[in-house]
Symmetry: D2
Subunit: 389 residues, 4 copies
């Protein structure tokens, strides 16, 4: 850790942070880095050292706007800087492995956006690098931010306390609609070489991780089906103005969890009218839970032991001081938003680094998701045959 004093707290050591990528994810991460020490009693005071990007001018402007002291187009130099303690990777999936492994080998902690990688092989190499780094006190986290939605953190707590009993059903869907228009233009997210997969890896990865996290169980096998509804889209990169979409537009799959529970999953960007409906429901022998990110401050919990006369799904407004992460924020009912999940994530990461305790979700968690993604694709290519993970 760099020893220089924090600008906002004489007692906390600073932690030099570098970030690569400055689009949507970069903007959210930067806001979290700026905010975390204002609200949470984190052991480090983050110093926003340098931002990496492809275009020098745009990167410099972004750095200025977001509050990074410096900018660069050379991510290799960035990961080697002495004043950098942690590298935050917000780039497309095809670059994750290379940057993360280099950073870990340079002794920098890593926070890496999800999905961890574009292939299982890459993810395996990243896990190996993370394990080697771990022995030297260097930490790696994959940014499945939805684990830090207070409602989902509360959900996990209820499961851990046994409030659901034996798990029977998991149903999850991540529904967006930004591709429902067949004329929407091509983006990197629709190219296999950059994005790895389509809805499956982008948003399906979130519900795979979130259901494994909340249930405390791994997925042991899947049967999948994928579809690409719009196979060519307008593109500036193509001679004829149209470029092939090389990823799935949607993925549906059934699954089994370690305990024998049955799962149903769906990821799509064609659910017209659903903006960011990340929905999770769990049914157990004693209780049930339901969540929809479009109402992110609510967790629905049914306590089956309540009895039928007064039992029912209760809408818990997850804004009480006793709820996860909420103590740092506002009074009850003064709701949080999407960006808070990243501030929570970074707060937990800083705390874990300081305490030397395992960071979750780890790269191994990310690999576990990657293996499920690969199994879904393999199943889809083989007539939906059940594939063990």
């Amino acid at each position: 850790m760099t020893e220089q004093a924090s600008s906002n707290d004489g007692k906390r050591p600073t932690l030099g942070v570098a970030m690569v990528g400055h689009a949507f994810m970069g903007a959210v991460h930067a806001h979290a880095w700026r905010s975390v020490a204002r609200f949470f009693d984190v052991p480090y005071s983050p110093r926003m050292v340098v931002l990496g990007g492809r275009d020098p001018e745009r990167t410099a402007r972004a750095a200025e706007r977001m509050g990074w002291a410096d900018s660069t187009t050379d991510w290799r130099a960035l990961v080697e800087r002495d004043d950098v303690d942690l590298v935050d990777i917000c780039t497309p999936g095809d670059t994750h492995a290379e940057i993360a492994i280099a950073a870990l080998e340079a002794g920098k902690h890593v926070l890496c956006e999800k999905p961890l990688a574009n292939t299982v092989e890459e993810a395996e190499r990243m896990v190996e690098a993370a394990e080697r780094a771990r022995e030297r006190g260097v930490f790696a986290m994959v940014a499945f931010n939805y684990r830090r939605v207070p409602a989902l953190a509360l959900a996990k707590k209820l499961v851990d306390e046994g409030r659901l009993g034996e798990l029977r059903h998991v149903r999850a869907a991540y529904l967006q609609d930004w591709l429902a228009d067949a004329d929407a233009p091509m983006t990197w997210r629709l190219r296999r070489e950059q994005a790895g997969s389509g809805a499956l890896g982008d948003i399906g990865a979130h519900i795979i991780d979130a259901t494994q996290f909340v249930s405390g169980q791994t997925i042991t096998g899947v049967s999948g089906m994928t579809e690409t509804f719009v196979r060519r889209r307008p593109s500036e990169n193509a001679a004829d103005g149209m470029e092939d979409v090389t990823v799935d537009d949607c993925a549906v799959f059934t699954a089994r969890f370690a305990s024998g529970a049955v799962g149903s999953f769906e990821a799509t960007r064609y659910a017209l009218g659903r903006k960011n409906a990340m929905r999770i429901e769990l049914n157990g022998s004693k209780g049930s839970l339901a969540f929809d990110f479009e109402s992110m401050n609510e967790l629905w919990f049914h306590d089956g032991t309540e009895g039928e006369t007064t039992g029912g799904f209760r809408r818990i407004v997850v804004t009480e001081p006793t709820h996860p992460y909420i103590g740092a924020w506002w009074p009850p009912g003064h709701v949080l938003g999407y960006e808070h999940t990243f501030t929570h994530e970074i707060a937990d990461l800083l705390t874990a680094i300081d305490a030397g305790t395992p960071v979750e979700p780890s790269f191994a968690d990310g690999l576990r998701v990657q293996r499920v993604l690969a199994a879904v694709e393999k199943s889809a290519e083989n007539g939906s045959k059940y594939i063990e993970v």
Copy 2:
């Protein structure tokens, strides 16, 4: 048609009705037979002639309570009676084929509870009998009553009008929880020889029919997974007090529809806290629909052509005079219940018989569902392999 005068309308001919079975379904059907001519301008005045059952005393008491003039334990005699024009079959699935075929051969119209039969073979024989009967002016209908939920009838109308555009997604679930308690006793619904299958045939059949009905498309293939969570249950029939459950407790499956749309289905009686959550969502290129039977008077419609600033899923309270079936009932907002779907079904059946027009859902529709059920089971037995229907 019998010529005798109706008790409540001198001008309408009566139609003699016999019913077999007097449990839950029988009670609902009887209420519909009593009510239909009070609210709808149907061409016949139903006369409730005779009720069939197994136990003479219980059947007689049920007949008296429900308003049937006579009772019998001999269904073969019942279907032969001259004063019977229509036979309404409310028995378990293993008896449907025998009774329905006998009734049709005796020249009686048939209304048969769902699923149509316990096997595809039985269903095929029933369809043949129905086709032969049809040539003689005798009609057969399978009682997928959810088609007559006003909200779902409206949904179909919107699809037919093109308000959804090209269909991309169908997701459907039928969630109940009456078996979540592992100590709940054995019933005929958990024996394969009587019920054919478990959640799959009982409630899964409803969402298969309803999604095919609303979308106007058939399911062309499925990949399924089933599970029995509680394999033995308390039973008076068993020597050791415990009897094997021989059907599925839940079924999840993915599907493809004729147009290429992708479907996700789930049927379970273990979704603790969900009482009768028959949920259907459709996403198309121009609009989306959502429905949950627990709020049966509401249809959620998103018109994608509305534009993003004021667009959103709208909660249509389906109680307006312009909505299907509602003109016969109460003013706006004075909601209907489950039983009304049966009254609507019978009203449509009587109208079709009189007009000589096709009755829907026909036995062929019932067979179509049966084939999907069989394909799901076959897929589940073969490692979830995709099976064409």
Copy 3:
């Protein structure tokens, strides 16, 4: 009670019923009379003797359709018939007092639609008649049917059990929109001489009774404000085609309950998009309740003793066998509708008549509502000054 045998049950004595009025309310009541003994173990078998109306032909047709054996345009003859044991009054409010008092004096039980009367003076005379009749074993009930919504009956039960603690707040609204269109035609409901008042007496009366019923407390004073938004409407009765609206279009008022709780009330037919939103919320020191008739099968209950971490308003789907009235109907989640409240009402009435126990809501309950209505009007005429009831 007449001694002749019931058509559907040899053991239960019949009870001869006459009904006056055959519009919306008449149709609902008739359905309840036809259905009650099919589902509830009531001590009498109702015989539908005669229907009274103004126009002979229309009344005869309605009688035939609804199942009344006879019809008449002479309500005085109707109440004197020997084969009539009970008179059900479904006419506009200006005729309630005269018919009800005559029927009671003739020794007939009375079921009278709400509001009980058009003035406090009429209501007082009706209560006197009911009290005199009561001494002779003759019963009178006012048809505040919402007391028999299972969710509201459950709400009352929870209040009676102390689950809300000390009551602090009552907020109630009854929102409809059928007059929002300024061109909607004149009806008798908009004439003071027939309807007594407008939204206030028609739907405001329901929320006054329902909140007093559920809370177990009387309203002790009110401060009111009324408004007529559209003062003339198209009418066939008027020479120039337009007739004056002589009642309120909406009424808003604040109130105090006996225990010191504070109430807020609103009744309107101009809440565009709200079809029959009869909403009630109660907040106490230990718990809260919320209800909206548009979702009539749901009661929302917050148990304040649950603790903040897992506490929340729970959506009780009021369709369990342990819920009020539900045992007579369908399995959980198979929802009921508006008309069931009348069947419940009549079941309770028949049971009370047989047991000789007090009938609720009594005419005295109806008078209590009438006094609140009068106080609201008086306050509205006097600059919203607080008026004790």
Copy 4:
């Protein structure tokens, strides 16, 4: 404006900000000052110069945590500092007038928390000071932050566009429950001399301002009722450990708006289970709107011109780029939280200062609310008599 360069943007002039008060409101405002220039293209780069508070040590710690360069216990010195251009007042209401007037006279722009003051007289003096300052190019804004909830800003836009037609009904409630426990301790918010009033001024003020803002109409008269449910609370300040509550616990009132629309209002901190339910509904002749802050990213809009068959309240998820303020944040469905309203408020304030255009809500808007508050109290003291505003 001070000329020194911004730390994050060489081209924008900085604006020196001082804040007085560092409790809940102070923390939210500070976060907004830190964030505004990161997301909005505001004309100034705020520099967080100095924080004022009562206790030197606590103020210094708060300044460090929140990011203020300096701290002081002398607010008079603070408002005179040359490097301060704007004073942000986050103190209890009894100090607003003194600080705001001093700041305005010192030529500093003022952002003042609501309610504007504790009395109409104070508010009038503040308006006078603001008007004098305005002539010198100095601006004053009162912080009714709910105007900057994107859903409410969209609501106003729809009203302004005529989508509601002629307004008939306004119903508003602000429901919290943090005083439902009779043993909750005394706070300054329960002392008249500090807080001015109770629920009325604290949260009732918000719904008064918000309904006037959205409807574009002023309230012209009210009839009110207030209550204090718990009259003594545990207090460290009192000899016997119990202190008198000297403000209202709740206020209910009816109102008239300029156009003749009728309003119903309620503010309480005793609605057990409601955490921050700021609810607003408007019904017009052509459309209706509904909002509840507990679901702050949703606006419900009913377009009455849609027709009854497909009409219904639509749930607009107010997270589209075309919605107010959203362009600065995340993609659709990535919801915002409470704190964003303050960032929006400050963005608008900075823009108005630069453009020299009127700032809203102005101190005159704050006075307008204050007059309604005073009229409600006067009415409550006079038997709920209607008081013109």
